[in-house]
Symmetry: C2
Subunit: 390 residues, 2 copies
Amino acid sequence: MTASRLNGVRYAIRDVLKEAKRVEATGKKLIKLNIGDPNAFDFDAPEELRKAIREATELKENGYSDSQGLLLLREKVVEYNKTKGVHCTAEDVFVTTGLSEAIHMLSAALVEPASNVLLPAPTYPQYQAVTVLHDGEPRFYDCLEGEGWFPDVDDLRKKADEKTAFISLINPNNPTGALYPRKKLKEIIDFAGELGVPVLSDEVYDRLVFEGEHVSTASIASDVPIVTMNGLSKNFFAPGWRCGWITLTGFPDDSLKEGILKLCSLRLCAPVLEQRAAIAGLETIDSWIGGYVEKLRKRRDLLVKRCNEINGLTCVKPKASFYAFPSIEWSGSDEEFCLELLRETGVLTVHGSGFGGKGKHFRMVFLPSESVLEEAFDLIDGFLKAKRSL
Amino acid sequence: MTASRLNGVRYAIRDVLKEAKRVEATGKKLIKLNIGDPNAFDFDAPEELRKAIREATELKENGYSDSQGLLLLREKVVEYNKTKGVHCTAEDVFVTTGLSEAIHMLSAALVEPASNVLLPAPTYPQYQAVTVLHDGEPRFYDCLEGEGWFPDVDDLRKKADEKTAFISLINPNNPTGALYPRKKLKEIIDFAGELGVPVLSDEVYDRLVFEGEHVSTASIASDVPIVTMNGLSKNFFAPGWRCGWITLTGFPDDSLKEGILKLCSLRLCAPVLEQRAAIAGLETIDSWIGGYVEKLRKRRDLLVKRCNEINGLTCVKPKASFYAFPSIEWSGSDEEFCLELLRETGVLTVHGSGFGGKGKHFRMVFLPSESVLEEAFDLIDGFLKAKRSL
């Protein structure tokens, strides 16, 4: 009964979840390192944002907002962008119901049937799924583990053609934790400029940086069409609230703006209370983000230390975000590794091939407390030792 | 640069808005009867719901919820449905980011390219727009003004064929304010059963009823596939919060459920704070809805009285919702009527043809206070008199 566009839509992460439910039902304790939800651990939205929500309930402004988003929020995004070297006006900013909605809208607006979308391998799976949903072809360009998971621009050039709808960048990266240097970004946008296609730059982890500086793609060139994406879910520790925003710079005309605005009108507006929280969030982030980053940095350091100590694991040090993407020495597929690890130890991770990655990896979050991370690595170590001795 | 699927997407209501902005910029005071947003007038979300939001900010549950929606909310929807004679389980309920998202998801899941969707004429424009967005054909069945704007089932039968993806019903109706009797609903679902296509029953105004009883379509037959749709925007006076829910009953298999769940997963979850508000709303609605309905009833009565007194206007009495769809005696198109009325008096309405209606009508809300409504009708009366004397 359902339309064929749904057929190809896969969500590899869900298969692991099914097995996890089964294992949990046997009474085994799970250590869940699979979800990018800091609020499932000892993180919560800052009081500044929660207070803004409470105050918003008293404003008697619970009607629809402008479909494009509250003007004040769009102005705050303009100010924030300016601190990153990205120059725009409130007319260039669109508020969405989380970045998921933004990705969906951009895909609907840019992907013609039979066009292709260039995605990093590994990637965040939603990009692949919405491309298929809009009858486009997800086409992967390599990111090189040996070079700190940076995009292979030669491979990107090889994969692109006249049917390319856009190039997707995720920086800081999910699932690898990589932070791209300015030079690499410049190479990519130079190529996008040559090809005349937009770059979608997902920067939703841009404040969760442990070393180095995050460079916003749109700060490098104002004459290449770039969609800069951000939102409340990660930097602001409020993933369940669903508020994101995109900024369009460098587009030769207003057609994408008009298309996005049309799609915004169809769903009336993004949630208004969360838009107020986002205003407070952008006003106050500098005062509280440091504490979150320090807490994450300690957990990241522990992760790197344990990965390097355990025989059979190696891990490129995550420079940002809260993900790591360790490589495993393992005879079977990485999906088999994750399923066996889950069944035998209760440690829940996601197989790297589920993100479109080559080789054998798993993705894990380093959001849990140090003691939970230590326990998880002890279990992984024991599991690998036992397998080797077979 | 944008994909061709956007080309056919029109939103007639927006053209009126552009002109309204122009007129307002000349300094003319507008009386805005165009938007179905009670919060733009002297209505607000009940304190019970606003309190639930404030309390939710203290719960430390700001992470993602289940993609299908909080289980407790889905259980409350099950209870609510039961009071309407609709029997289901929490597995049949899906929480969405407003009904707009639900309509979009259902369209993505059900509309194949070149299939058609049967929409009432007049209709709520989003149904038409998302059908076009998914390469389907919006096909209109008449609703008969002379019979209280009830659907013409003979016409519905004529318009349907083997390519029909679903039948859309809006009851209580936007834009006419009609409330469909059980007998009429039975005729429609009997036909849907014969044809083997789902009925999407939009019941988002089901508690805003002035006379008669709202009959939920799914209460009439459990063996016809029906999607029952409701949400916070209208009955709960919180349109900006974006929380809706759909219930699937009578489907022969789980394919639509699985399709919707896939689409739900892609956007992670509906906003969690609003889901908590919806729980409180469903628990308390019986205690506060009466006051809202009485306030609206007085405004509805005033509207009917004035429409019947003014030479050139007639109006089927709205039995529910907060819309009226008066018929006008006018030599030009109804779009010209609305534009001239706007320019000369500042009274902002939407032309009936923008909703796909036949004849000459305009849609107006009866949400403003009695004094504003009186002023608006005085202006309309003066405008019509002046036109007749030309």
